[in-house]
């Protein structure tokens, strides 16, 4: 009698297989760790893949200095717990110029994240970087491979990706080229939540509803996380019971009003909700297929 593997067991086994292939076939892999729920799952899978060894690569956090405080706390705790080296990289030019999400709009994402990531990969000579992107997030992602090749200047060419057959990944590349690898490509948002629930994976408390100081601006509910938040004239922070479906830099990430304070409630709310998770991110509203353009420029 066959023992039927559940969809989560099969997704887990596939992700672990991918993580091990990359470690075996590349010279200097790194895991991009954004502290969000997808990163949390990816890190958990890495710990499972190499147990009893610690994952044989460092964690890289490309920091913008504008993450929620709760994210920094979890980041440091998880690095300690997993026994992995944590590299925090901040783009020195963005630092010098004081780039921030309030005054600089899309330049903020561009300099801290897109440029910051390229600089970090170059500085440490990483030839493979694990990322937590999923194919169900956005239409253009549905076509991206699990192994995504980048030229020496980190550009992604949607027309020149390698076919991926069976479980047979080709990780060969020339010097200077690199690969972005997405081990949780085939997971959906619901899979992620369900797995976090089943495995008891620690996530940032901001995913759970709680009374927090907020302002409403351009249709988004923004959380006033610290005193760097410049209040506009007449704006007074209001306590609302809110949570986040996705986490980025705090002024760019919109919250939703919610009473869901534990995982089953969050999943319940997610299943009954009627808007997709990326809607909370200001970055996507610019134009259709904006993710695809960003990707070609090297945004993760």
């Amino acid at each position: 009698m066959a023992r039927l593997l559940t969809h989560l067991e099969r997704l887990e086994a596939e992700s672990i297989h991918i993580l091990r292939e990359v470690v075996s076939e590349t010279e200097r892999p790194v895991m991009l760790y954004s502290v969000g729920k997808d990163s949390a799952v990816m890190l958990h899978l890495a710990r499972k893949a190499f147990h009893p060894s610690p994952p044989p690569f460092p964690l890289l956090h490309v920091d913008t200095t504008w993450k929620f405080r709760a994210m920094y706390e979890l980041r440091d705790r998880m690095a300690r717990q997993s026994g992995m080296e944590l590299i925090v990289y901040r783009n020195p030019e963005a630092m010098d110029r004081g780039i921030n999400p309030f005054d600089h709009g899309s330049l903020h994402t561009d300099m801290w994240k897109t440029e910051g990531l390229k600089q970090a990969l170059d500085k440490y000579g990483f030839d493979a970087a694990f990322g937590g992107a999923r194919r169900d997030e956005e239409k253009s992602r549905a076509k991206e491979r699990i192994f995504s090749f980048r030229s020496t200047n980190h550009r992604w060419d949607p027309k020149n990706q390698r076919p991926e057959l069976w479980r047979n990944y080709n990780a060969r590349k020339a010097k200077g080229e690199s690969i972005r690898v997405f081990p949780i490509s085939n997971w959906t948002e619901l899979d992620i939540w369900q797995y976090i629930h089943l495995e008891g994976i620690p996530i940032v408390p901001l995913y759970f509803a709680q009374k927090r100081p907020t302002v409403e601006r351009d249709g988004l509910i923004l959380m006033v996380d610290d005193d760097r938040f410049p209040l506009r004239e007449g704006e007074v922070p209001v306590e609302r019971s809110i949570r986040f479906r996705t986490l980025g830099c705090y002024p760019l990430t919109g919250a939703v009003e919610s009473e869901a304070s534990n995982l089953p409630e969050v999943i319940q709310e997610m299943l009954l909700t009627t808007t997709s998770e990326r809607q909370g991110r200001a970055i996507d509203h610019d134009q259709t297929a904006s993710m695809e353009k960003k990707k070609q420029e090297g945004y993760f």
Binding site: A2, R3, L4, L5, T6, H7, E9, R10, L11, E12, A13, I16, H17, R20, E21, V23, S24, R47, K48, A49, F50, H51, P52, S53, R135, D136, K139, S140, R141, A142, K143, R162, P163, E164, L165, W166, R167, N168, N170, R172, S185, N186, T188, Q194, H197, L198, P264, I267, Q268, L271, L272, T273, T274, T275, S276, Q279, T288, A289, E292, K293
Partner: protein, 637 residues
Amino acid sequence: MNDTPSRYHPDAMIAEDIHAYLDQHQRKSLLRFITCGSVDDGKSTLIGRLLYDSKMIFEDQLASLEIDSRKVGTQGQEIDFALLVDGLAAEREQGITIDVAYRFFSTEKRKFIVADTPGHEQYTRNMVTGASTADLAVILIDARKGVLTQTRRHSYLAHLIGIRNIVLAVNKMDLIDFDEARYHAIVDDYRLFATSIGIGDFVAMPISGFKGDNVTTLSPNMPWYSGPTLIQHLETVELDANIDQEKPFRFPVQWVNRPNLDFRGFSGLVSTGRVSAGDPVRILPSGRTSAVSRIVAFEGDLDEAVAGQSVTLTLADEVDCSRGDVIAIANDPPEVADQFEATIVWMADEEMLPGRPYWLKLGTQTVTVQIQAPKYQVNVNTLEHLATRTLDLNAIGVANLSTDRPIVFEPYARSRDLGGFILIDKVSNATVGAGMLHFSLRRSQNVHWQALEVSREKHAELKNQRPAILWFTGLSGAGKSTIANLVEKRLVLMNRHTFLLDGDNVRHGLNRDLGFTEADRVENIRRVGEVAKLMSDAGLIVITAFISPFRAERQMVRETMQPGEFFEVHIDTSLEEAERRDVKGLYKKARAGELANFTGIDSPYEVPENPEIRIDTTRMSPEEAAQTIVERLLGWS
């Protein structure tokens, strides 16, 4: 279609008892399938419909879908579901999907991953890729058109990749007034064809992806149809994963897990079968035996692991085992061989070159492979066998191949993991092809290397020299033959035993059957390389003077020699200079269009990246060049 409640998304249960819902959800299984058809067959519409019905589409997506439907949609004012699944911007403007896209939805019983591939002519590569991970294929037919050439092509490819479950979805039934007779005629027509290519069984159903008939709910418009809906069938069809568990145990080792001196584990994914602690196992290709002592996982040791699980095994004995090895059940191990017959699907713009060394990656094993000229190519539209010397983009052929060392394998029909391989170009690193092993050739079991009593070393010792190959490469007219002759004369004066293989001369005899196409050039160099290698085994210093334009073949010869015995000598003369000299008048002919495939004019020359010796003929006389080469060979400089 609103008379029955959706079976997809139990809103009431989620709202009332989320814990019960979660409990049910975590016990779902996973089915991967592929949809085959063109935009005209309503394929994107069907997938859009599946996503829409399973509520995988949110309000914001629906809002932008409505805007898009009015702007570029093909369904008038109605929602164009196809727009949900077309991804990249350029493709959306052209109105076609041109790659493999993966979509996700789930019902109460299963999660589904759909590989969506386009239906136009140039799509063999994409469909084969999408089908490689699928358990089931949905072949879509436009009810108005019936079985078309592309239907046959899709079915052939699905069958070739080993998909056992074929669904024939006769779509757009609404446009033929749900005509039962017409439906049965199409199914009968298809059955004739399917049987002829070896598809023993398939499930046919009449549907309308656009209106939803027989997709999630049985259609009131077709009371004559008594089979399952598409979703019902997808939810209950038997998974390959279950069948894989009943096969013999196979475990390709991915990574050796060695956190400290006390632990040595072998990490991998169980490819087929199942394993328990204590099971006797055999490690291939070495054939050593041991027993499984532990099945290690993060949450604690397991009693048993089954096909599809990623685990780490420890063994009872200190046996050699590393990445590329396969741990298998001891009394029924897989074969080990180095010569095979295989089906090859070519996926690159540059044609396959018989004889050229490629990387072959099969699971965790990577070896060098040479493919012989195909026995035949299959016309995917007519399924005729055609004679061919090579394979172009999207061509499918059957050929013999040989690897440079034995690999552990199983026929593809028995194991996708141990029978499916990819081919990688050694220079560009691109994945240029994929293949499926049929069987090993008996030759490889029966032809062994004859151990020679007089060794290579003895031959060299008698001649009092170290064997070597001086491999000259460069454009026509660069001065290769001139300098090579001078080098040989100098060596002979020093009592060295040499032999010069010259391009023009070899083409009069050994290679007189070869022309100047890329494929023939590769074969030309392969033969010369083999001859040079045999001569070096006899202790000779071999000098070759061939244009040898491709890096891959020069590298192939280099790899047959011991380190320090192969000297790549680049006679570096610019094209302008070689053309100015034009000793044989060939450049003039080539420029006049009288000579095709002339290196430097209409055929590429790949400059050596790190030659042992580089001779710039504009700064050195032939005598000086010869002296330089001899000094380097003998280690004087």
